[in-house]
Symmetry: C2
Subunit: 215 residues, 2 copies
Amino acid sequence: MHIPGPTIAQWESRYRAAFANSLTGFKSGNLVGTSNSSGRDNLAIMTSAVHLGSHPPLIMLVIRPDVAERHTLSNILETGVYTLNHIGANAVERAHQTAARYPADISEFDAVGLTRRAIPDFLAPAVAESPLSMGLELREERKLEINGTHLVIGEVVWVELDEAIVGEDGYIDIEAATTVAVSGLDSYHRSQRHCRMEYAKPDLSPRRQDVVKGA
Amino acid sequence: MHIPGPTIAQWESRYRAAFANSLTGFKSGNLVGTSNSSGRDNLAIMTSAVHLGSHPPLIMLVIRPDVAERHTLSNILETGVYTLNHIGANAVERAHQTAARYPADISEFDAVGLTRRAIPDFLAPAVAESPLSMGLELREERKLEINGTHLVIGEVVWVELDEAIVGEDGYIDIEAATTVAVSGLDSYHRSQRHCRMEYAKPDLSPRRQDVVKGA
């Protein structure tokens, strides 16, 4: 089926949003933990985290200021720090619920039943239930004129995880960690490893790794 | 295990890259199809596609100009159009192989054994083996000073897929399409649906959808 852009533009908005959000493929799901300068917490699910670089480790978030994500954005701009927390399979329902538009004076930790974990010398809270958490410091923020979304670029300043899931080569086995993937607006997925591949070179055929180094 | 940023900065570069690339969680994998103005094709795997908006449908790519992705960037800037193509489970090895640094005069379609599909009135080629392909027109490009990566924002101007995978609500069942997810630099995953959730509201508990609308 071939669908031209003008057809998509005519669709009802929720149908179009479900469709458009499925186009990129599987997405990460992270809980973004912040506090404001008075120490009031916020927790919001985001599926827009993207790897920007390794040295230093940089991650970009796309934040829409018109939804539940707005408190996250203002807290990050106010304090300069935030956490990203993977969503394990046992926390999917609670993680999804953070997308509800709670008033600013309600902590999503309390509202959805996730556990705030304080990190020494770091203002933003982590999620105790997450198999992998990291702290970030804001490095750059800019608004895209094209549709009003904000790009928030942060540097990873600490990582917490079970060392058993880190392979000899540095790969983190997020499948073993039960981290879920997201598709569309509301679908959560477990994963099953298909293969790991060796580094691609022009003069060699593609080769699967015989031993899964990260497992 | 708590790992401070300065420790990560001291690691050997490949180890650090494998680790840092695993941090965001599961990533999309897409083959980006382009041609230059002489009609020479390029195909490159990218894991950085992120949803930017639905009306119009906007997708952002992060492109590093120092690797195999550089031909993609120059072709997009030259012609203004490109395709994104999901990677089905049966094309993982060939998709991964497009990351090898082939010379500019070699088409990755030929080199890895994927089939070029011409789209009427659209300069960039699609991948015949992909379960979902879309065409994009460049809307904005900018270089990030923080680490030299390029942000490429495009509008989706057509989508091709099997209508059987589009649900009543617009959700595309990319799991049924066999689309794979990526983690780290080289790990490919099939998915298994955990649940779909109803729209989150502050005054309601989280509710799973009883019937998977997209299946």
